[in-house]
């Protein structure tokens, strides 16, 4: 019984991911990507990590998919020539190697006797981890985010100066 929900979510999310890569129209691809992110957040809900699930929804669907959609609408739909044969072979090789490594991972983790920890989620432990263990990381991250915002604005503003 423990496997049914994750397996169903896995089928749902991987179908959405495949569709996002294979759809003819980029806008529909972006919608499928949003559905994929939704599936991931359902995974996090099922793992009883509500903060992560909601953060995933807010950032991915609220910001990244909107950005992608905006870019698709500027760049224009349906103007791609797909297919790079040698690289598809390489992709297949990568796929095979990944399946192999997965089999190894299965052999190790599948033999362990693991049960999900009953540790309840608490906002306090998250804040403690961020402030005490990752204080420096979050400062670096803040600088990085600011820099990326400046970079993105600088790149996107060029047109306004030219015209």
């Amino acid at each position: 019984m423990d496997y049914i929900v994750p397996l169903a979510l896995m089928a749902f999310s991987s179908a959405a991911a495949l569709f996002s890569l294979e759809s003819k129209s980029l806008v529909y691809g972006a919608i499928a990507l949003a559905v994929f992110f939704l599936g991931l957040s359902l995974f996090f809900f099922y793992l009883d990590l509500p903060y992560l699930a909601i953060f995933q929804l807010a950032v991915y669907v609220g910001a990244i998919v909107v950005l992608i959609m905006f870019t698709v609408m500027i760049v224009g739909d349906k103007q791609t020539r797909e297919g790079r044969a040698p690289l598809v072979v390489l992709g297949a090789l990568g796929f095979v190697s990944m399946i192999t490594s997965f089999a190894y991972a299965m052999e190790y983790f599948g033999s362990l006797d693991l049960v999900p920890s009953a540790q309840p989620f608490s906002m306090a432990s998250l804040s403690a981890a961020i402030v005490q263990n990752y204080g420096a990381v979050i400062l670096v991250l803040a600088c990085l985010l600011t820099a990326s915002a400046y970079g993105a604005i600088a790149l996107a503003r060029k047109e306004a100066e030219e015209t």
Partner: protein
């Protein structure tokens, strides 16, 4: 029903089937419980989960309030502009005008532009309505009158809020009309940039109450409302709320003198009606959350029951929200963006810093 409307109503049917199936799955315990209560003690039905989901904070309530709000808005704006407003339909003062409007919209033809992207064009209003109705499930109207007393209701509310720009952008793009698209881009700028101040200005309420559960936040204000402890945050929240709802000082996305009617230009009939409906449902959700964050939720002197206090406060907030339409002119989009990033976000952050200092150095005085 004409040929053009059929796909739209099919879209509505599919969505409502999905929503109903999900609701049945989630409420399966509650339904049996409600049946049992109905057979033994019919008066206790208000305490069951099914009643909450279907009648009071749930479905019936959020369907009726928009109609009432539309009537109040038209009447109020008319009085401010020395007009009479709706007068003829249904009893005194045209009370049933919104119902008549709804029936008119239901029977109108839904025109789909030739180059529109049909599936997205038809699904976008349906999703807008579902998204507008979703926040209602976490908003408490009394300690027991809440559909889902979720421990992270604040976060869930803002996560749902993040979906709106996506829906607007899709509706605007699928219409294949330049007015729609410009309106949609404006809505995107506006909603995406005002999500940040609205979240930052909600944080003081969370910090003062020490919980992400909306019911706890309301309960924590039984002594003093947070609007007195964090007035600047309340003001920032209110302004951002107006911008998120695209009410009149900030209605650039729909600016009817510039953009026909913004991203809803190509929508007609009930598809347009659903968008209007979703705007009012969203307003109800925002008014409810403002009351919970800053006006004490259901707390008040015990002359009225808790639910009545909530309803009174929500009505007052909705009335203030509606009144801005009569009193303010529209501002420009660049002014709006500058105000959002340059004024509201620094103000909200400053407020949080002050609150942290107060809580650290004067514990007991606040929070």
């Amino acid at each position: 029903m004409d040929d053009y409307s059929r796909p739209f109503f099919r879209a509505i049917a599919v969505t409502s089937l999905l929503v109903t199936a999900t609701a049945l799955y989630l409420l399966k315990g509650d339904i049996m419980n409600a049946l049992e209560v109905l057979l033994t003690d019919p008066l206790a039905i208000t305490a069951t989960g099914l009643f909450r989901a279907l009648v009071f904070p749930g479905l019936l309530f959020i369907s009726v309030v928009p109609l009432m709000a539309e009537w109040v808005e038209r009447k109020f704006v008319a009085r401010v502009q020395v007009r009479v407003g709706p007068l003829y339909v249904g009893g005194p003062e045209g009370l049933l005008q919104p119902v008549a409007d709804m029936f008119k919209l239901l029977f109108k033809e839904i025109i789909i532009p030739k180059n529109a992207d049909r599936p997205i064009f038809l699904m976008a209003p349906v999703f807008a309505f579902v998204l507008g109705a979703l926040p209602t499930i976490v908003i408490p109207y009394s300690p027991s009158m809440v559909i889902w007393n979720y421990g992270y209701g604040v976060l869930l509310f803002f996560a749902i809020l993040a979906f709106f720009p996506l829906d607007v952008l899709l509706a605007a793009w699928s219409s294949n009309n330049k007015y729609s698209f410009i309106g949609g881009l404006r809505a995107l700028y506006q909603q995406a940039s005002y999500e940040i101040p609205i979240f930052l200005s909600a944080l003081p309420a969370v910090m003062l109450a020490g919980s992400f559960r909306l019911a706890d936040i309301a309960q924590a204000q039984s002594k003093v409302w947070f609007v007195f402890l964090a007035p600047v945050s309340a003001a920032v929240f209110f302004v951002s709320m107006l911008a998120e709802m695209e009410r009149i000082p900030f209605d650039m996305p729909e600016a009817d003198s510039e953009l026909v009617s913004g991203w809803t230009t190509e929508y007609s009939g009930m598809a347009w009606g659903l968008y209007q409906f979703s705007i009012y449902v969203k307003m109800l959700a925002f008014a409810g959350i403002f009351v919970v964050f800053f006006l004490g939720g259901w707390t008040g002197p015990p002359v009225l029951p808790a639910v009545a206090w909530s309803l009174v406060k929500v009505s007052v907030v909705i009335l203030v929200l509606l009144s801005t339409r009569a009193f303010w002119p529209r501002i420009r989009i660049d002014q709006l963006i500058r105000a959002g990033w340059g004024r509201l976000i620094p103000l909200a952050i400053l407020n949080i810093l002050l609150l942290v200092l107060f809580q650290h150095y004067l514990p007991g005085v606040v929070g």
